[in-house]
Symmetry: C2
Subunit: 196 residues, 2 copies
């Protein structure tokens, strides 16, 4: 990694953490530059525009997400254990590590009404995420863990809905039972989908 | 209603609609003043601060929510029909009427990391919302529609999770099947909770 790449990676690390708290739009390039000990123009030497920075923050989040959630989940046996591992890792991901919780959830309502390249990048990552869940469910059907006629996209919608609600109950409503509620909901959903 | 009250109500109506698109923090007092044909200081004659405006926007949303979702749902027979009516009205609420979808969902990730009076107001309204769902579920248990040992707070968590995911799939992922997915998920959840 060149020195320039290292600097860019360090900026993106700090920017990702900060943006989960203030939002990608709320991110101030001046504040971020101060945090990493650069001038604003020094920071802009690494990014074409604020939009480019925002997109690269999302891409950085996606790489981290694969490292912390997807790859460890893939180490679990395929089928239901892998789905359970994914959910457990996602709950960890959203509740520790990043100051403001899952960056994709944070950005979701921020960008749903803002067409443009940042929204497109976000939608791409979120589609990958729901497709990853659907694929895991399809493998669980193949393994004979889940029923043959399972609508795997509907199943992914329902898993994702529980993860969203967890984020909401834990971070906004400060509900100490949030994790237990999410785990119960996932267990019920998986049980309802099991092959007889 | 005095002239001052009428002006304030008209400002809040426009402000609510606009804030669902740009966020409560992204709301520009200057832009809002122009939209309602007032100067910035003329607008501030009606509100103590931007924070006061943000809180009153949420209170306005809550009043509208009762009119459009809660009251019509209460017209349905108590028990499962009332829960179904609530869900159907909520899906309408989030997908029509306001430019940026449900204002409570929009504000949720915006304020989860911003302690203060606006967050407190938002949390108050969202607690009322989840309690309303839990109360409807408790009535459905009393009516013999849902099983005696139902955890009504868990049920409310799960209903709310589906509504959040609907918002996300419909508004961000532009999934044309979002409503059908949400309806299917709710129907499954209610069926699993039914008394034998």
């Amino acid at each position: 990694m060149s020195k320039g790449d290292q600097t860019r990676a360090a900026i993106l690390d700090r920017a990702l953490d900060h943006s989960t708290e203030v939002g990608l739009e709320g991110l101030s390039v001046g504040t971020l530059a101060r945090k990493v000990g650069l001038s604003k123009s020094g920071l802009y030497a690494h990014f074409d525009s604020k939009e480019d920075l925002q997109r690269q923050i999302l891409d950085t989040a996606a790489v981290r997400f694969v490292d912390r959630v997807v790859r460890p989940a893939l180490a679990a046996p395929r089928g239901v254990p892998r789905i359970e591992a994914f959910v457990a890792r996602w709950l960890d991901w959203s509740s520790s590590g990043l100051a403001g919780g899952c960056p994709f959830v944070s950005a979701a309502t921020e960008f749903d009404d803002r067409p443009g390249p940042v929204r497109d990048t976000l939608v791409g990552h979120l589609r990958t995420l729901t497709e990853t869940i659907a694929t895991s469910a399809a493998l669980a059907v193949q393994e004979g863990h889940l029923k043959d006629n399972l609508d795997v996209d509907q199943f992914a919608f329902q898993i994702w809905s529980i993860l969203l609600a967890y984020h909401h109950y834990a971070r906004l409503l400060d509900d100490v039972a949030a994790r237990a509620r999410a785990e119960t909901a996932c267990a019920e959903l998986i049980d309802a989908a099991r092959a007889d």
